[in-house]
Amino acid sequence: MIVATCVLAGLGLVAGLGLGLAAKFFAVEVDPRQEEIGDILPGANCGGCGYAGCSDFAKGVVEGKAAPDACPVGGAETAADIGRIMGITIEEKERSVALVLCQGDSTAAPTKFHYNGMTSCASAALVGGGDKLCGAGCLGLADCQMVCPFGAIEMTEGGIARVISERCTSCGKCVTACPKNIIQIVPASAPIHILCRNTDKGGVARKACTYACIGCKKCEKFTGDGSMVVTNALASTDYTNPPQDPAVIGECPNACIKELDLSKKAVQH
């Protein structure tokens, strides 16, 4: 019995000594906070923060390169946790969601040619800018749906993309994936939105889509406070000062303006 204990103890001692020496020899410094932050991150590796995955982001935060509240998926809670680990306080950011600024589905927006090729917006956009007559219209080939890590984008029956705002974490992947730049990150609290990006003038725009903004400035005049402005024959909402009065919807001759409730959030599992 004693021999057994001694032998094992001796073996352990030798091994331990060897490892201790090796550890001295091959020592690597790692900031323990990096692992801590890595643990509380959502682990979706979506890249919404601009880093190549969650652990890269954690490294960035510890090195002071990344903003602690830059994780769009984790939102305010994660930001607060990261702040606690880093010993700083984080101001709460307002929730935002992605929004597809196009209503030109197949019933509203005609095509200008028959497209034959890859089922991918980015590829299709290389061929004559896409088959929609409207130069800013959703091509409906689902690039955004493919890149969304949260299943928060669906294709409508009319063949355009729609963000399911409850699931959206505003990681911004769809924004970069869209070759037509019609997906925008908007504050979830804003009630009124202009769902068009067509910069063509009146007649041309009207031909391109029944939901096209023709730049008539009615909304700009109605709101009058700069919350909606028309530039380049296209109205847009100033999201730092979003319009609140739903009455403006009736002003738009082409029904570009919509009231949307984007503030609902899916229950986190």
Partner: protein, 367 residues
Amino acid sequence: MSDEKDPKTSPTPPEGDKAVEAKPAPKKEKPAAPPKLVMSASPHVHKGQDVTGIMRDVFWALVPAVLVGIWFFGLPALRVVAITVGGCLLFEWGYLKLLKRPGSITDFSAAVTGLLLAMNLPSTSPWWMCLVGAFVAIIIAKQIYGGLGYNPFNPALVARVLLLISFPVQMTTWAKPSSIIAFDAATGATPLGALKEYLSMGNTLPLPADQGASILQLVIGLRGGCLGEVSVAALLLGGIFLLWRGHIRWQIPVGFIGTVALVTGIAWLASPGSYASPLLHCLSGGLILGAFFMATDMVTTPVTRKGMLVFGIGCGLITAVIRLWGGYPEGVSFAILLMNAATPLIDRFTKPRVFGARKLYQEAKTA
């Protein structure tokens, strides 16, 4: 972007979509609005060959050997062919329908798989075994990988090896070849099986005349074996047809058969008493069937000529090793499956040299 998942690869215009004349352009009296044109990326012309065409050619190339098999093994062989081909088509059709996936059984690929499977079964195979084989080939080896083009292993071979391991008795019960009219229920052995048996009892070659098969018998196919592998002549006919049509490249069959001949030849020269002649090795078993039809399956073999040669040589090496020293009398199926597994690696290391690249491909990427 998985175009095959999406039915919209070539979007047709939605119905009720009125033709809108070209573009907002300077208003001028134009002749009648031009037709809505088709747009696509270049090139705008195509050779005209498609997957269905290739598969159809492969199918017809297999037919002579199957007919010979049916002639020698009679109605049971016909039954095996009917069940496997029918089963494969049925499973493929059912799966595609059930999972609403694109693709169609009319592309002949399932039929070719079924035919190849039948050719790799003894004519005495019970019906349920044929069905199990068809299921394994189509569903497990092909469809759950994503269907045509994505299966890493040859479906028919996966099915054959699975059956061989699971039902060794049924898979090695061979009917004696006779002819369709005079069906003979007697069972016999394959030349390679007889050889292995004979050698394992400690005998030395040559084989007694009543146990082997003459060269002529091997060439026309009058010998025991799987129903599609027996007739070397019919198989060569189909193989040459495929070579001529350009659907298979010479590198694989030549590399395969050449290596088998070389290795067995060396062994035979070293010890003619314990190893059979390379001629016997080349003409018997499933070598010709494997080399021309199974090892040349496009999906599961390398894409480059160099890679194909490596693939063929690898197959030949493994086949020869298994035949000469292994437990199984025949190693073609195992060899091809193993090389299928190595195909991604072969592809990786046999890339052609990029035009104008000074260094080899693998290094060029860092430059």
